[in-house]
């Protein structure tokens, strides 16, 4: 315990709390990016995002039971959700393009119910136990106190995913098309690029990211049919705070939300849930389009 205190709390504890917040933020970032990406490109508010998160976790845990490899699950869960995303976009979402923001919203909302009920029927109501893989269990001394190894891994992994994604969107030709498509789909179409294929791919990518976040969150909280519900609310806050459609915004906002939750719980534990929404209200008052959002994102 260090002698220095801020507001009655030892510095060690504050630092540890900050790391906890960043680890918490890592999950928010991964969920938020997918949601933001889908919205940014095609103006679809994906209400089934939490359900994809949950089904991804189930797929991962199910495969882990079969193969015994967490790393394989980490590949399979996003892959499966990507494929499911492809099917959903092609069959359900596509007919609704051009019909405003409400129809896809209602559709995905309904879809989330179908997904949750299907999982309830297939796997039961109780949920499945799931712990971190043996090589990532336990806590390590990080100089300011003990911190769970798995959460450190989570921070690193999320960082890597964000890095790859950034390279993909900023440095590849396909990324260029995505960015152009978000600005002006018609011009992209005129240039001879089939924008519908881009939408399909991005929708699948967003769903894959949700699935990845799901399997990553599974060792923290176990796997239940309802695990996507609070996540969806948090993901929306992240997207709104960061700015609808902004990738960098989602990353920044995810981390801020995580840190705000961790710090609030130190001072007023019973206010943590409210703090997230207070933050959102505050940001919207000062910057109505979010921290890094572009103008007119909502039409």
């Amino acid at each position: 315990m260090s002698a220095i205190t801020i507001g009655g709390f030892p510095l060690d504890l504050l630092a540890l709390q900050l790391v906890t917040g960043i680890a918490l933020g890592a999950i928010y970032v991964l969920v938020g990016i997918g949601l933001s990406l889908i919205f940014g490109l095609m103006n679809v508010v994906n209400f089934a995002h939490g359900a994809f998160f949950m089904v991804g976790a189930y797929v991962g845990v199910f495969l882990y039971g079969y193969t015994g490899s967490f790393w394989l699950s980490l590949v399979a869960a996003p892959l499966a959700m990507g494929l499911l995303g492809l099917a959903v976009e092609r069959v359900l979402v596509r007919p609704l393009y051009g019909r405003g923001i409400d129809d896809p919203l209602l559709l995905t909302f309904g879809l989330s119910y179908v997904m949750v009920e299907s999982v309830r029927i297939a796997f039961g109501l109780t949920g499945l136990p799931f712990g971190a893989p043996p090589e990532l269990r336990g806590a390590v001394d990080i100089g300011i106190g003990y911190f769970p190894l798995y959460r450190l891994f989570l921070i690193g992994f999320a960082l890597a995913v964000v890095g790859v994604l950034w390279l993909f969107i900023e440095r590849t030709p396909f990324g260029l098309v995505i960015r152009a498509g978000a600005r002006d789909p018609q011009i992209v179409q005129v240039l001879g690029i089939e924008i519908t294929k881009v939408w399909l791919a991005v929708f699948a990518l967003g769903c894959a990211l949700a699935g990845l976040a799901g399997i990553l969150a599974a060792p923290l909280q176990g796997v239940t049919p309802e695990m996507g519900v609070p996540v969806l609310a948090e993901a929306f806050v992240v997207t709104v705070v960061g700015g609808m459609g902004s990738l960098a915004g989602a990353v920044l906002a995810g981390l801020i939300v995580g840190i705000v939750v961790a710090m609030t719980s130190l001072v007023a534990p019973d206010m943590t849930k409210m703090a997230i929404f207070a933050l959102m209200a505050l940001v919207l008052l000062v910057r109505p389009r979010g921290l890094l959002g572009r103008a007119g994102a909502l039409g």
Partner: protein, 415 residues
């Protein structure tokens, strides 16, 4: 506290208004009941949260309740009348529960009500049943339901209450594990009642509360609370929460390495929660009303488990499932003892009931109709399991004793 009072007044107000609106059919109903009480099955309404966070427990309650009805019918019923269970989904919502209960009474003309899970819902069902003078045997833990302001002559409480459960666990744990105690509690009635039970039990062993942290119900991550608790190195951490909240908070407390220095204690340690939480629960101590391994020492538990296994492909009943069974049995045994389905006679018979349905002796205390019964202290294990259902070691049993209940005076009942 102020909001609780307002909610109660609102509840009573709306119940009174609907009572007025429905007085005519109710009168009609009693006329029919008196005329035709010999015919037709005995109908028992069973509102439980089939959907929602406690769905797993509720489904087990239904299965065990159906077993109780089946047992009763196979034994010949009562004067040639069989019993019938009317299951309704209360969706873990007090408003929904009140509506379903009202329908069960007015439309389905049930003779009795059993059910409920979660304190607010059980109080809502009780409010409606009490206004209508229908016997309601609650199978959900609640302290308030025993207090004079919520209690009615037709109110029975089959479940343990938080005061009994947390008290028994506290009396077992504090002398053994140490005096520096931290609390992480869900911020609603159940969490507060459990915490009060622990604190009162801890007075005897002189516990020192080093942290009292309240978390919002249904929080998805508890990691933010844990560094602070870990820094305090308490001897005991009491997790006064339930269901998923408990599973996730225990999983994350384990992850943060709290078990190195601290004994994790949950007031109510459920079979379903341990199954969902896996080996993160290892070594966690808690209280429960029933665990199937009781069959090693209690013959009635063996008989109950065997019937349950036979009916449901070898599955064993959970704790709340067993309460569903006992809730129905209490009412139906009351009917047999009374020789009637009339409310007044059944109330008197249930008050006098001395039963051993599945866990040893139990009876209802006269002043508040609380079931006086044993509390089991169990420790979760993840090694040396004989079957996947072999998840607890029974550390001890606190026998049925009125001393462990809050006194009738304290609850506001006049002698």
């Amino acid at each position: 506290m102020g909001t609780g009072f307002d909610r109660r007044r609102l509840l009573q107000g709306s119940a009174a208004a609907s009572a007025l609106a429905l007085a005519a059919p109710a009168l009609l109903r009693s006329a029919i009941a008196q005329g035709g009480s010999t015919g037709g099955p005995i109908r028992i309404g069973f509102p439980v949260p089939l959907t929602g966070a406690f769905g797993a427990e509720a489904n087990d309650q239904v299965r065990a309740a159906q077993l109780a009805v089946k047992t009763f019918n196979e034994a010949g019923g009562f004067q040639g009348r069989t019993a019938e269970l009317l299951v309704r989904d209360d969706k873990l919502n007090p408003g929904e529960a009140a509506t379903r209960t009202l329908e069960l009474i007015e439309k389905d003309k049930v003779n009795f009500l059993v059910g409920g899970l979660s304190a607010a819902v059980t109080l809502s069902i009780n409010n409606v049943a009490r206004e209508r003078g229908v016997i309601y045997n609650s199978i959900s833990q609640s302290d308030a339901i025993n207090e004079a302001k919520d209690f009615g002559r037709t109110t029975f409480h089959e479940a343990l209450n938080p005061h009994m459960t947390a008290g028994a666990v506290g009396r077992y744990v504090f002398p053994k594990s140490g005096k520096r105690v931290a609390f992480l509690s869900a911020d609603y009635a159940y969490g507060h009642e459990m915490m009060r039970g622990f604190k009162r039990a801890g007075e005897a062993s002189g516990i020192e509360v080093v942290a009292d942290i309240r978390h919002p119900i249904g929080a998805s991550d508890y990691s933010a609370f844990l560094p602070r608790i870990a820094a305090l190195k308490p001897d005991v951490l009491c997790l006064c929460n339930f269901g998923r909240d408990q599973v996730v908070s225990i999983q994350q407390a384990t992850e943060f390495g709290l078990k190195r220095t601290t004994k994790l204690v949950a007031p109510v340690l459920l079979f379903t929660a341990r199954k969902a939480g896996g080996d993160a629960f290892d070594g966690v101590i808690g209280g429960t009303s029933y665990y199937w391994r009781l069959e090693d020492s209690v013959p009635s538990a063996k008989a109950f488990n065997d019937r349950f296994r036979a009916a449901y492909n070898g599955a064993v009943p959970s704790d709340y499932g067993a309460l569903g069974y006992a809730g129905i049995r209490s009412v139906l045994e009351g009917v047999k003892a009374a020789g009637s389905v009339e409310t007044d006679k059944v109330v008197a018979a249930m008050e006098a009931l001395k039963a051993d349905f599945y866990k040893g002796p139990q009876s209802f205390r006269k002043c508040d109709h609380q079931s006086v019964q044993s509390v089991l202290i169990v420790e979760a294990k993840s090694k040396d399991m004989k079957t996947p259902d072999d998840v607890f070691t029974i550390l001890g049993t606190e026998g049925p004793d009125e001393r462990f209940l809050r006194g009738c005076d304290e609850l506001g009942h006049k002698a």
